[in-house]
């Protein structure tokens, strides 16, 4: 497993709370793990599915951080523009041949203000590495909505003591979460160009605890075509997450100038439906 506890690596990188940091610990990782990650993402989460299915025919909205585009197929009677920072994931979303998808940054969305009926952003906001950037990301989504527009936001919860990771109240909220890329997904010898946790020590986020073992347990149970459990010479990538504690998502939405209409907890995640004030 990855040794991520070595703090002596002085490799050039931005500090927490910067795009440079996220480029290394979020964007590059998803570029490298895209096909493997995608193979573990196929089942829509029930609350997201319900939110999309309840949209009236002809509603137009966004999936900000659409990943492999698994939510684009939920409701063919609406129109969705999926976007993601990872071009490799957008390629997978685009190949579904439904709705539309493009490459975009969550803080610089290419949409006019106040026009869309809905937006979803599922398991995305927790990858921004400061409270300001997380609120800004929510603000950017809210800005695209019309007055009646609604956004559904999902983030990973700190309180998940029954999950395999066992995080709970009081645990550090800024963590690295490993993704073990099986060998069948590494396109080049020794993996991709990204940093490899099992070959190269990395600097853990300041004030953060790196996780060891238990990789990929945010993945859904793989289907039968999935990777074998034991792959030789797997490559470990570390993704930055901010684990949300109870009430924090609502606070960020308020900081973004939004109104929370409904919120809750589902399977290790906090979610909220919100709209512009």
């Amino acid at each position: 497993m990855a040794d991520t506890t070595n703090l002596n690596d002085d490799s050039a990188q931005g500090p927490l709370g910067t795009e440079t940091y996220e480029a290394e610990h979020v964007h590059q990782v998803y570029q490298e793990i895209a096909p493997h990650f995608s193979a573990t993402r196929f089942k829509p989460w029930p609350i997201v599915e319900k939110f999309l299915k309840e949209m009236p025919t002809g509603s137009i909205g966004l999936d900000v951080g659409c990943g492999n585009g698994k939510y684009l197929t939920v409701n063919p009677n609406i129109y969705m523009i999926g976007s993601d920072r990872s071009s490799n994931l957008v390629q997978i979303a685009y190949d579904r041949k439904i709705h539309d998808s493009c490459v975009a940054d969550g803080l610089s969305l290419p949409h006019p203000d106040g026009k869309l009926d809905f937006a979803i952003s599922i398991a995305v906001i927790h990858h921004f590495s400061s409270p300001e950037r997380r609120a800004e990301a929510i603000k950017a989504i809210l800005a695209t909505l019309n007055k009646q527009g609604r956004a559904l936001i999902y983030v990973w919860a700190l309180e998940q003591k029954n999950s395999r990771r066992g995080w709970d109240e009081g645990h550090n909220q800024d963590v690295w979460v490993p993704w073990v890329l099986s060998k069948q997904y590494t396109s080049k010898p020794n993996g991709g160009k990204g940093k490899k946790g099992n070959e190269q020590a990395e600097q853990a986020p300041k004030d953060a605890s790196a996780q060891q073992g238990l990789a990929n347990d945010d993945a859904e149970t793989p289907n039968t075509e999935e990777a074998p459990k034991e792959a030789p010479k797997e490559v470990v990538y570390q993704r930055y997450y901010h684990l949300y504690r109870k009430g924090e998502l609502e606070t960020d939405i308020a900081a973004a100038g939004g109104v929370v209409l409904e919120s809750g907890y589902e399977k290790d995640n906090w979610w909220a439906i919100c709209g512009p004030k």
């Binding site: 129109y79 493009c102 610089s108 290419p110």
Partner: protein, 124 residues
């Protein structure tokens, strides 16, 4: 990128969001493809009120579709109009080319159907 999408896309540069020159983005060297999709009449009828018509007319004309009425059709749509809108909005895609902002002149590439709106550092 489908033509319907262009009605909901503008420049990713924050300063351009409020500029009327930035919307719609303008196609350059656009290469089109058409893919037959099942017609969903109710969908077309329901999206029509949501369309910014002058922007659509402008985008369509720049791609060679010059038969759209200059004002948005009102009331019951005839069958031909529904078919034409379906063809233009969801069956037609720009598969390669550029989208250019009329305000800052920044060019966004479209490659194999996928537009890339990531900005260089100096524009963020």
């Amino acid at each position: 990128m489908k033509i319907l999408t262009t009605n909901y896309i503008t420049c990713a540069v924050k300063a351009c969001k409020t500029s009327s020159n930035a919307f719609p983005l303008q196609f350059r060297d656009a290469e089109l493809v058409q893919e037959e999709l099942e017609l969903n009449e109710e969908f077309i009828k329901n999206i029509l009120p949501r369309i910014e018509w002058p922007a659509l007319v402008q985008t369509a004309a720049s791609l060679g579709f010059t038969t759209l009425p200059s004002t948005k059709p009102e009331g019951d749509l005839d069958e031909q109009m529904i078919k034409d809108l379906h063809t233009l909005l969801v069956e037609t895609q720009v598969i390669s080319g550029k989208l250019v902002c009329g305000n800052c002149q920044h060019e966004y590439n479209i490659h194999q159907g996928i537009a890339n709106f990531l900005l260089p550092n100096h524009l963020v």
